[in-house]
C-alpha cells in the first residue's frame, strides 16, 4: 500500500518517461503557463509561444530519463530546456531575417506581444512582479541577460561594461533578493 505523500519530481518524470498521460497532464498544468509566457516574452507572438510549449514538452519527454533530481529542481530544468529552445528559435529568426535582407525582402515587422497576449496574470505572478521591483536596474538587467539571453557572467560583464566579478555579484544578489522579497510577500498574505 502506498502512502499518500506528494509525488516526488523524480517519480513524476519516471512516469512521464513511461508515457503516462496523467503525468504529462500534471507537467502541463505546472509548467505550461511559464513556458508559454517565456515564449511571449522572448519570441513575441502567441503562435511562437504555443510552438515553444509544444516543442518543450516533446523535448522533455525525449530527455525525461536524464532528469536527475539530485542535480537541481524540476522547475529549473524545465525552464532551461524551454529557454534553450527559445534561444534556438531566435537564432533561426535572425538567420531568416538576414537571408530575407540579402534578397531584398523586409523581415516580418512586429513580433512584440499584442494587447490580448498581455492578459491579466495570476495573483502569484503579480506578487512576483512586485518583488521584482525590489531589484535595482543593474541587477535586473544582469539577471535578464543571463536568464533570457543565456549569457555567461563574462558576456554579461562585457555587454554591461563592468568587471566580471560585479556581473556575478549582480546576478547572485538579484536571485537571492527575489527569494527574500517573495518570502516576505508570502508572510504578508
Amino acid at each position: 500500500m502506498r502512502a499518500r505523500e506528494p509525488e516526488s519530481d523524480a517519480a513524476l518524470m519516471r512516469r512521464f518517461a513511461r508515457r503516462d498521460a496523467p503525468a504529462a497532464d500534471m507537467l502541463y498544468g505546472r509548467f505550461a503557463s511559464r513556458i508559454y509566457g517565456l515564449g511571449i516574452v522572448m519570441l513575441g507572438s502567441d503562435a511562437a509561444a504555443q510552438d515553444l510549449v509544444q516543442d518543450t514538452f516533446v523535448k522533455l519527454w525525449r530527455n525525461a530519463d536524464r532528469y536527475d533530481a539530485t542535480r537541481g529542481k524540476l522547475e529549473t530544468w524545465v525552464l532551461l530546456v524551454a529557454r534553450s529552445l527559445a534561444i534556438d528559435a531566435l537564432r533561426r529568426r535572425v538567420l531568416e531575417a538576414r537571408s530575407l535582407e540579402a534578397i531584398g525582402r523586409p523581415p516580418d515587422a512586429d513580433h512584440r506581444p499584442q494587447p490580448d497576449e498581455l492578459a491579466a496574470t495570476a495573483d502569484m505572478a503579480a506578487r512576483a512582479r512586485s518583488a521584482m521591483e525590489r531589484l535595482s536596474g543593474e541587477q535586473r538587467a544582469a539577471l535578464e541577460l543571463a536568464y533570457f539571453g543565456g549569457k555567461t557572467s563574462a558576456e554579461v560583464a562585457e555587454l554591461e561594461g563592468i568587471p566580471i566579478g560585479t556581473a556575478k555579484t549582480r546576478i547572485r544578489t538579484a536571485l537571492l533578493r527575489l527569494r527574500e522579497a517573495m518570502a516576505e510577500e508570502q508572510r504578508d498574505v
Binding site: 508515457r19 503557463s33 516533446v58 529542481k73 532551461l80 529557454r83 512576483a128 543571463a146 527575489l178
Partner: protein
C-alpha cells in the same frame, strides 16, 4: 575549490551557462557539501520567482489538447522506430546465447557445433538438434503493470542434467532490477516448486536479460514471474509443458 568559489559559480550552474569542466566541478562539490546545496536551493527559488514575475501567462485552453496530441504521436512514432521484437527475433537472440552457454557448459568439443547452431539462429529447432536436448519451450511475458513491457522466455530441458532458461525483456522507462522466478502452477508433489532464475538489470534503453543453468529438471516448471525489488509483479509468462 572552496565553498566561496563554488558559491560564486552557483548562479551560472543554475542558469546553465557554466562551461562543462567548471560545471562538473560544481556538481562534484555539491554532492558532498550540504551548505552549498542549501545555497543552491535558495538561488533556485529566486529563479522560480523570476520566472513567475517575468513570464507567467495563461496559455489558450486549446493548447493543452495540441500538446497532448503531439505527445501521443511522438509515443506512437517511438514504437514504430523500435526494432522488431517478434518471437522469431527473441528466439534468434536466444539461440545466440545457446552458443555461449554451450561453450561454457559443454567445453571446447562442443564449440564447433554450437557455432553452427548460432549461425542458424532463425530456427531454434536446429539448435536443439545440434545440442541433443530434450525440448525447447517458449513463453511470452504478459505485463501485469500499466507500462510497456514485453519479453520472452526460453526454457531448455536437457537430457544431460544441464538445463537452462533465458529471459529477455524490453521495458523502456523501467530502471533498476527485477527478480525472475520459475514456478510450477499447480504445485509439485516432489517438493521444490520455485527456482530463482536471477535478476534482470534494466539498461538505459529498457532492455534486460538473465539466464540460469541448472542441474534441476525444468520439465515441470510452467510459469515465469518477473517481480520488482519492491515486490510488485511486473509480468508473468505461461509456458506449455512439453
Amino acid at each position: 575549490m572552496t565553498c566561496d568559489e563554488i558559491r560564486e559559480l552557483l548562479p551560472e550552474h543554475l542558469l546553465g551557462t557554466l562551461g562543462d569542466l567548471q560545471d562538473l566541478e560544481v556538481r562534484r562539490h555539491l554532492r558532498g557539501c550540504a551548505g552549498c546545496r542549501t545555497e543552491l536551493d535558495r538561488l533556485s527559488e529566486g529563479v522560480e520567482w523570476f520566472a513567475r514575475a517575468a513570464h507567467d501567462r495563461t496559455p489558450p485552453p486549446e493548447l493543452r489538447d495540441r500538446v497532448v496530441n503531439t505527445l501521443e504521436h511522438e509515443w506512437s512514432d517511438a514504437d514504430a522506430e523500435r526494432p522488431d521484437v517478434s518471437r522469431t527475433r527473441w528466439i534468434g537472440r536466444a539461440a545466440a546465447v545457446v552458443a555461449i552457454v554451450a561453450v561454457l557448459g559443454w567445453g571446447a568439443s562442443q564449440t564447433h557445433r554450437a557455432n553452427i547452431a548460432s549461425a542458424d539462429a532463425a530456427s531454434y529447432r536446429n539448435v536443439l538438434t545440434t545440442l541433443g536436448g530434450k525440448e525447447f519451450r517458449v513463453g511470452t511475458l504478459a505485463p501485469r503493470i500499466a507500462h510497456p513491457f514485453e519479453g520472452s522466455v526460453v526454457l531448455y530441458d536437457s537430457h544431460q542434467g544441464r538445463s537452462w532458461g533465458i529471459v529477455l525483456v524490453r521495458a523502456p522507462g523501467l530502471t533498476g532490477r527485477a527478480k525472475v522466478t520459475l514456478s510450477i502452477a499447480g504445485g509439485s508433489a516432489a517438493g521444490n516448486t520455485t527456482i530463482d532464475a536471477g535478476w534482470l538489470e534494466f539498461q538505459p534503453d529498457g532492455d534486460a536479460a538473465t539466464w540460469l543453468v541448472t542441474s534441476s529438471d525444468l520439465t515441470p516448471f510452467d510459469r515465469v514471474t518477473v517481480t520488482a525489488a519492491d515486490g510488485t509483479v511486473l509480468a508473468t509468462a505461461e509456458i506449455e509443458l512439453a
